[in-house]
Structures are given as C-alpha cells and as structure tokens.
C-alpha cells in the first residue's frame, strides 16, 4: 500500500474540487484510505493520517473513527506524535465518549515527563477537555506543577487548576496553599494566569473571598503590582501600543472589583490606585480605553467615594462622544449596568443616549433603546416618548416588538394625562400595529375602559384610524372592541377633546362588515368584529335589522368560532330578546390583575365573580359602613369616604362605643356588595376602602428581604408573627404575612383574624390558609395582609382575634405598634 499522502497534498487536492459533491468524493476516498491504514496499525504514518482527519473534521465531515488513533499517538514517545495526538483529543473527544478516560494514564505520565513541552501539552489538554473524573485523578499532579519554578509550566498549571475547580468545586481548597506565592512572580504570564485563578476562586466561594481579603492581604499586593505596571515606564517586552501589559492591568482591575464589592476596607485601599489609573491612562488607542472601561466598571461596583464615582460617570460620558463605535457600544453597556444605582448621573447624558438611537449600527441602537427605557421617568416622559415613537417608526423590524412593549410600559407608568396616554397608544398601534405583542390588546382595552371620560375621544380616533387601513390586526381588534362598546358615542357626535366627526350608523356598520369580510383579518379579529356588531344592536336605533341580517349570515360560516357566535347571537335576537339589552350592557371598569401590583384596587361587580369568602362568616347583610368608620376613628384618623356607593347602609344593632361589639358585629374586612343588578353606568373607579380577599390576586414577585419580623401578639399560648416584604415597583405597599401558632395542648378552631389600620392607610386581607391552629406548634395558619401606605406614615394596626379553645369562645383585641421602620419607610 503506497504511503499515505501528506496533509498538504490532501489540502491541495481538496482545493481543486469545484463542487461540493467533488469535494465529498475526494474526502470519502481519503477517509477509506485512512481507515485501512489505521487497520494496519501503521506507526510511521499514523501522525500524518490523524492530521488529515482533523482537517476533514474542521470542514465538517465525520471523524470519530480516529478517536482511538489519537490515544495511540498520545502514548507514543515522539513529540510530533504526541502533539498531533493531543490536538486530536481536544478536537475529537469530549466527556461524552468513554474513550477519553483511557487518556488519564497517559496524561499522568506526561505530566511528569522530562521535557517541559510534553508536560505543557498534557496540561493543555487536561485544561481544555478534562472530565470531572480525570480532574479528580490528576488534580494532585496539577497542584505539584503549580509550585514549580518553571514559569512556562506554572502558568499552564494555573489555568489547568481553574478548569479543575470548575469541574470539581470541592477541590478548591487543595490549590489554596499553592496560591500563596503566585503573586510574587516576575513573569507576567504567570502573574496573569494566577490572577485568573484567584478570580475564579473568589467568584466561586465566598469563604475564599473572605479569606483572601483578610488573611492573604491580597488587595495591597495587587495594588502594588498595578502601580509598578503604570509607573514602570516603557518596557519593550510587555508593551502594547505604548501601555505596559494592558491585559494584566485589566485582569487585576477585575479581581479588585470582586474583592472590593461590598467591602469597605478593601474599597478604601484601592481608591488611590483607581484614581491614578483613571487619570493617567492615555485614551488615544483602544488599549487605553479598555483599561479605562475596566476601571470605570470597578469603581461603580465597589464602595468607592463619591468623587471617584463622578469621575467614572464622566469617563463614560466621554466614551459616549467618542467617534469609535466600539467605545460607544461599551459605554452604553456599562451605563445600562449603572443606571439602577446612579440614576441621576446617567440622566445627565440622556440627550447623547437618545442621539445614539439614530445611529446606523444595529448593536448600538439596541443598547440605546434599552438604556432609554431605563431612563424614562415622570419628568422627561413627553420628550423621551417623542424620540421613542420616532425610533419605532424608523427602526428595523426586529426591534419593533420590544420597542412597542417598552413604550406601553413606560406610558403606563408615567403618563402625564389620560389623553396623552391614549394618543401614544394610538400612535404605536398605527405605526407598529402588526408587531405589537398579543397580550397588549387586552391590556389596552382595559386601559381604555378605565379612562371613562376619554371614551368618546378614543372611539373617534380609533374609527378614523381603521377607516383607511384595517390590516394591522391588534389595531383592528382594539378598534372593533371600542366601536362595539362606545358606538353610540361615536354616532352622537359628542367629543370634547377633538372636533367631532359626523358618522352615521350605517357607516360604522360598513367598516365593521368590511373587517369581517376582509381576507387580511384573522379569525380572532373577525370574532371581535362580530361581537362588536352585536353589541351595537342595543346601542344603535335605526340599523337593528341590518345587524340581524349580518348575524344570521354568519350562522353558517365555515369558521367554527364565528359560526358559534353568530348562532348564539341569533338565538339572542329570537328567543331571548328581553335579555338582550341587559347582556349587551356597557362593560364595567375592569379589575387589573398584574403581578406588579396596582396601587389601587378596583372593585368589580356584576359580570365578574363576586368576592369569595372562604372561612369568614357570611356577611350579615348589606355592608354596614358606619362601624368601619367608628373603628377607624378610634385609631385616630379623619373622614373616610363611604365604602361602596351603591349599597345602602343599615344601622348597626349595637351603637358605636364598645370596640369589641363593633368588631364583633361587622365583618370588618367584609365583602363588597354582590350586587346582582348590573348598573348601566360604568362604575366609579378606585374608591378607597377596606376590601376582603380577592384571592385571585397574586403576590408581588419582586421583593426585597431583610426586614426583621416581629411578634405582634403572644398571649394564652397563641402567638402571631408578622413577616414583611416590600415591593420594588411600588414602595408604598407592604406585604405582611402573619403566622399564627398555638403552643397549648388543644387546637384552636374557627380562628378568625381581623385587622384595622388608620385612615391614611389602605388594607387588604387575603384569605387564610385554614381556620384551625393546631396544638403544640405543629402547624401554623398563614394569611397575607397588604397595606398601602402612600404617605409613608408609621404603620399601626389594631387586630382582633376570635377562636374556640377548650370548648369556649375566646376573643381578644390588641394593638401592634412595634413595626420595624423598614416596613413603612
């Protein structure tokens, strides 16, 4: 069999192939030759064959049959063989093949080889693809090499150690003694990899971090090295564009960042050197900017003094104005990281950031968009929104969905007026209507319902918007819904905000019918349109027959959803005409169920489910409100507005006076009236009142911990503890979780917990987990209380407990005053 061709020959041959098929053919031929050569166990040419195999692997052809051959090469004595063998192992093998374990012994031997390059190869391979078993076996050898004086091996051993630690974190302690002297090296390569090793150890284990901070005095050492680098002047071997070993500088700065985070002493020790680096580094080349960037990140992360922080933000501001796109990108990224902590400082650069929205570079635009959303606040909302809407108009499609969602969120949080809010939404719907996310439509509808006084204006604008073009589905859906609801306002021609347009009922029906017929409308949109037409049958007077006709046509539609709707509506016309007006009433103001906690809780009535009362005693009739007022008077407040306007109040059986009786008769955290008759007037939104558990309310997702819990009540074996949570998005809301436990020998049954707060607060009590407190502290009842404290006053609460214990009914009243300041400030 002729000698296998050399790698270079193979490459030359493959390059002559003109088509993919030709190339494949050549490669297959060569693979066959290589396979037969492997079978012959030919030692001399194995190296060449494996090299060719690796080349073919890079081009994308399967090469797994060479794995064992790599192992044989590694076991050979020649350096050339080992080199290719290890390279093959790194490229072809990984943890998933069992074959790799066979390497362990070879690597072990090579780690103790006399030639440093062979040891280096072994370390390299172990560090690239060593599995956890291999690492466990060979960690000792690596550790030995970490202490050697040969700098070539030492640096490789350091990185290998990093890999070992990543795979087998328990072995971290083993490398600790070897790290003591690592930073005393002169060789920059070793210094660099040692810093990497130390960084890895500190990041992985807080114990290590503490150890390095205190015992090893790592920070002074690093500061010393950094100082030498800066002051040393020109050193030809480490110089990159005029700066001495910038890679090492950047690494040290990163490690300093980890060491200084949340630690005052370390941060103080590095203040000087950071200031020095920040002021002395030359910024004309990329290298200097890289160091400055790292310095800025470090300053922002540690507990630096304010002058230093101002310096850092100014450097970032300078970066933003730099011509180099990379620098600007990097500046935007770091500003995004700091905008949470140093919001005001970043605000100063807002105009530059907004300019970046117009940049041609996609990466920069994305960063600028994210940063702009983070910078929006109540003061700059109008200006920012103008820019963002312009951006939405002109940006690439991949941004539009994110931008639209961001605009909606920002508008919701900071809208200066309802009209502005609706205008903004309209603008987004018309410009990027098809990119709006699906969940935006119900949110928008709910928003429009809530802004009662804007209904006429909204429906008019929506009508005008879809008159011209009804292809953007979300826009059409919202418009159809609004026209269905407020069509009467539309034709009546009343609108305060804008010039009212004259629209006849027929024109409205025309547009809705065209939406129904159009090919561009999706099934969902059609459903919206049909329902809207149906609703108009109660709101329009002259065109009811036309509506009946349309509805009956769709009774035989192919689309099952439409057909079902049409058939039901038909039935409504025929058999249930007396109910039609009641059913097609105006929708009430909708309750908002979002996880970010609305500031006010809206009452529902009618169509939505009545508030459940699980274990509370049923309400003793219509809500008596005056006792609530009396109780709150006792807690020392002012007037309270009536709880529910539509429910008549009845006089209480016992007059005001004794607190116990007051609390006994009324259900303080009582249910809202389950008023069955839907009112034709949309409900007044957001009266402040005490409300019982709408158990569908989910708890806050983003919470901060760290507020100490208190024991609110402890008597007769019953202990009640309060734990607190604050929401990040709404600082005036506190969520209190109460836990009631019972240390006596008998259970407490029918346990009811009630609470009242002063008038400046609002309270919401969710349903408890059960009504039995088991004995001997074997279990607890948990219940959640939400307190809204907009004026940030000191939290006080009066609680009443009723339960049955040892056969007798017990009642107790207590006042809770020991709320920790973090719970209400």
């Amino acid at each position: 069999m002729p000698a296998p061709i050399r790698l270079r020959e193979l490459i030359r041959t493959i390059r002559t192939a003109r088509t993919q098929a030709e190339e494949r053919e050549m490669i297959q031929k060569e693979c066959a030759a290589i396979r037969s050569s492997f079978r012959e166990e030919d030692n001399t040419y194995r190296c060449r064959n494996v090299a060719k195999l690796l080349y073919m692997h890079m081009l994308g052809y399967p090469a797994h049959f060479g794995q064992l051959e790599c192992l044989k090469l590694i076991a050979s004595q020649k350096f050339t063989d080992k080199r290719i063998g290890y390279l093959g192992a790194m490229l072809l093998l990984d943890e998933r093949q069992d074959v790799h374990l066979l390497m362990t012994n070879c690597i072990k031997n090579d780690l103790n080889h006399s030639t440093q390059f062979v040891q280096g190869l072994a370390l390299c391979t172990l560090g690239c693809m060593g599995s956890s078993e291999m690492c466990r076996d060979l960690a000792g050898e690596v550790e030995k090499l970490l202490k050697t004086s040969n700098s070539y091996l030492r640096k490789k051993a350091a990185l290998c150690a990093v890999h070992v630690i990543r795979k087998v974190p328990e072995l971290m302690e083993m490398f600790l003694p070897a790290t003591k002297n690592l930073l005393n090296e002169k060789n920059h390569g070793v210094l660099h990899t040692s810093v990497v090793l130390l960084t890895e150890m500190c990041e992985r284990s807080p114990d290590m971090l503490a150890h390095f901070r205190k015992n090893e005095k790592l920070v002074p050492q690093l500061v010393r090295i950094l100082k030498n680098l800066i002051m040393s002047g020109y050193s030809p071997e480490h110089d990159v564009s005029g700066i001495s070993d910038p890679f090492l500088q950047v690494r040290i700065l990163r490690l300093l960042r980890i060491l200084g985070r949340n630690d005052d002493d370390s941060s103080e020790a590095m203040n000087d050197i950071l200031a020095q680096v920040a002021t002395n580094t030359e910024t004309s080349k990329n290298v200097g900017n890289a160091i400055l960037y790292e310095t800025v990140l470090t300053i922002m992360d540690i507990k630096s003094e304010s002058g230093l922080r101002v310096l850092a933000i100014n450097i970032l501001g300078r970066f933003l104005l730099n011509n180099d796109k990379n620098i600007r990108y990097v500046a935007l990224t770091s500003l995004l990281k700091t905008v949470q902590t140093d919001h005001n400082a970043v605000q100063r650069h807002r105009s530059t950031i907004v300019d970046c929205l117009k940049d041609l570079d996609v990466s920069i635009k994305r960063r600028a968009m994210e940063l702009s959303f983070a910078l929006v606040n109540g003061n700059n909302i109008r200006g920012m929104m103008k820019e963002l809407l312009y951006f939405l108009d002109s940006c690439e499609p991949e941004f539009k969905a994110d931008c639209a969602s961001g605009i909606f969120l920002a508008a919701e949080k900071y809208a200066p007026s309802k009209r502005w809010h609706i205008d903004t939404i309209m603008r987004v719907l018309t410009t990027a209507g098809s990119y709006v996310r699906d969940d935006a439509v119900p949110n928008l509808i709910q928003l429009i319902t809530n802004s009662v006084e804007m209904h006429a204006y909204t429906v008019q604008r929506l009508y005008k918007a879809i008159l011209g073009d009804y292809s953007q589905q979300p826009l059409v859906q919202v418009a159809a819904w609004c026209i269905g609801e407020y069509g009467d306002l539309l034709v009546s021609g009343q609108c305060e905000e804008e010039e009212p347009i004259q629209v006849t009922e027929d024109e409205v029906l025309d547009i809705l019918e065209s939406v129904l017929i159009s090919n561009m409308s999706t099934s969902v949109t059609r459903g919206y349109a049909l329902t809207a037409i149906m609703k108009l049958s109660t709101r329009f007077t002259c065109t009811v027959n036309r509506i009946k006709k349309v509805v009956s046509i769709y009774g035989s539609s192919i689309d099952v959803e439409l057909q079902q709707r049409a058939v039901e509506y038909n039935a409504l016309f025929k058999k249930y005409d007396h109910m039609r007006s009641a059913l097609l009433e105006r929708m009430p103001v909708m309750e908002k169920v979002t996880t970010n906690g609305p500031t006010e809780i809206v009452q529902t009535n009618g169509e939505t489910e009545p508030a459940p009362l699980e274990t509370k005693p049923p309400p003793t009739g219509p809500q008596p409100t005056s006792q609530a007022n009396d109780l709150l008077d006792l807690l020392g407040g002012n007037d309270i507005t009536p709880v529910i306007p539509t429910v008549p109040t009845s006089k209480p059986a016992s007059a005001g006076g004794e607190l116990l009786d007051l609390l006994g008769d009324i259900n303080l955290t009582g249910s809202p009236a389950a008023a069955a008759t839907p009112s034709s007037v949309p409900q007044i939104s957001q009266p402040p009142f005490l409300l019982d558990g709408l158990s569908s309310q989910p708890l806050f997702n983003d919470i901060t911990t760290g507020i100490p819990s208190i024991t609110a009540y402890s008597k007769n074996g019953l202990k009640i503890e309060f734990t607190f949570e604050r929401s990040n998005t709404n600082p005036s809301v506190t969520v209190i979780t109460i836990q009631a436990s019972n240390s006596t020998e008998l259970d407490m049954t029918d346990f009811v917990f009630q609470a009242a707060v002063p008038k400046t607060f609002q309270l919401q009590l969710l349903s408890p987990s059960s009504s039995i407190v088991p004995a001997f502290n074997t279990g607890t009842i948990t219940q959640v209380i939400k307190v809204l404290n907009p004026q940030k006053q000191q939290l006080r609460m009066r609680i009443k407990l009723t339960y049955n214990h040892k056969g007798s009914a017990m009642q107790d009243l207590a006042e809770v005053n020991n709320f920790p300041p973090q719970s209400w400030q």
Binding site: T80, R83, E237, V240, N286, V287, A290, N326, V362
Partner: protein, 193 residues
C-alpha cells in the same frame, strides 16, 4: 470565558474552529454557518460586537470579531471577558501569526492548520487567556518546532536542508576578491531566499 474561536473567510469556509465547551459536530458546523451569516452582514464602519446567535447560547454571549483582508476572526465570549480586551487579544493573535509565518496570508492558514492550532494553544487554554506576550509565544513555538524537527529523522531531511540553506547568508559572500592586481570575480549566484 472564551466559548469558541472561529476563523473563516469571506465565503464562509472555515479555516480554524476551536470550541472550548462541549458541542457536537453538527451543531458546530451550524454555529459556524450562523456566525458567518451574522458577521458578513455587518458594514465596515460599525462596531465589532454582536449579540451571539441562538445556537451559541443566548444573550450572555457576545461575538467579537475583526475582519482582516479575506479572513474573519471571531471570538465568542461570555460576559466575564472584557470586550475591548478581546479586541486587543485578536490583534495580538494576528501579529503572532504574522511573526511565525512571515507576512501571513490565508494560504498559510489553509496549509498549516495544525501549526495555527499550536500557536493558539499557547495563547488561549481552556477558554482562558494564557499568554499575551508575542515574543514569549514565538519563542516557545520555535522551541517546540525545533524539538519536532530533531525527532523527524530522515523524513525531515528535505525540510532541514531547506532551513539550512535559508539560514545561509548568501549576500555576504564577497563579490570581488582582490589579491594584488589579479581580480577574480566570483560567479553571481542567484540569491536564495
């Protein structure tokens, strides 16, 4: 950590691919294609940073690339690496290649893939930067190459002959040897570089 280092040409043909995490071969090829697709769309005067494609692992990963003549050098890194630092690292890598290959061009990379791997192994190990000093790297590579050559035995003879002639300093042979009045001209040998 550096997740992957890719070198491909303007048409997407891979010239070097090294992955520092476990990815199977099909996915590797897909990643190369996807990366080429993302990088080739870029204009000349935009920044050198890109969000990684879906395959290479999501929003934490960034592609940092540099375009030299016909080759794209792409490093896929996660957030623990400094972007500007990686740009410098690419520059150092290319300069090292230049020193090792003498005016490196794409052909050198094509025909000496294994050597490029060796150089890279001296710079980046296990996804972390090992050595950034160009001279140091070149010294070590030279030493290892010498070791290889000394082992090569007979098969290496032509290569050794070539390098021996290369090191012969022909231009210094005097053109004119003057011994009194007799001037003997030495024939003009073609300069063998």
């Amino acid at each position: 950590m550096i997740k992957a280092i890719l070198i491909f040409n303007n048409h997407g043909k891979p010239r070097l691919s090294k992955f520092y995490q476990h990815i199977n071969e099909d996915t590797q090829q897909q990643i190369i294609r996807e990366t080429f697709h993302l990088v080739s769309k870029r204009d000349e005067n935009v920044c050198n940073f890109l969000e990684g494609g879906l395959l290479i692992g999501g929003s934490d990963n960034r592609l940092i690339y540099r375009h030299y003549a016909t080759l794209y050098f792409v490093f896929c890194v996660d957030s623990s690496e400094s972007e500007l630092g990686i740009l410098d690292l690419i520059q150092v890598f290319v300069e090292t290649l230049d020193k090792c290959f003498e005016n490196v061009c794409e052909l050198d990379l094509i025909f000496h893939v294994d050597k490029v791997h060796n150089i890279l192994a001296e710079m980046v190990m296990g996804g972390m930067v090992l050595e950034t000093n160009m001279n140091e790297i070149v010294t070590q590579i030279d030493a290892q190459n010498k070791l290889e050559k000394s082992e090569a035995g007979l098969a290496g003879a032509p290569a050794r002959a070539v390098s021996a002639v290369k090191n012969m300093n022909l231009p210094e042979i005097p053109r004119n040897i003057n011994i009194g009045d007799i001037s003997i001209k030495v024939p003009n040998l073609p300069s063998f570089k």
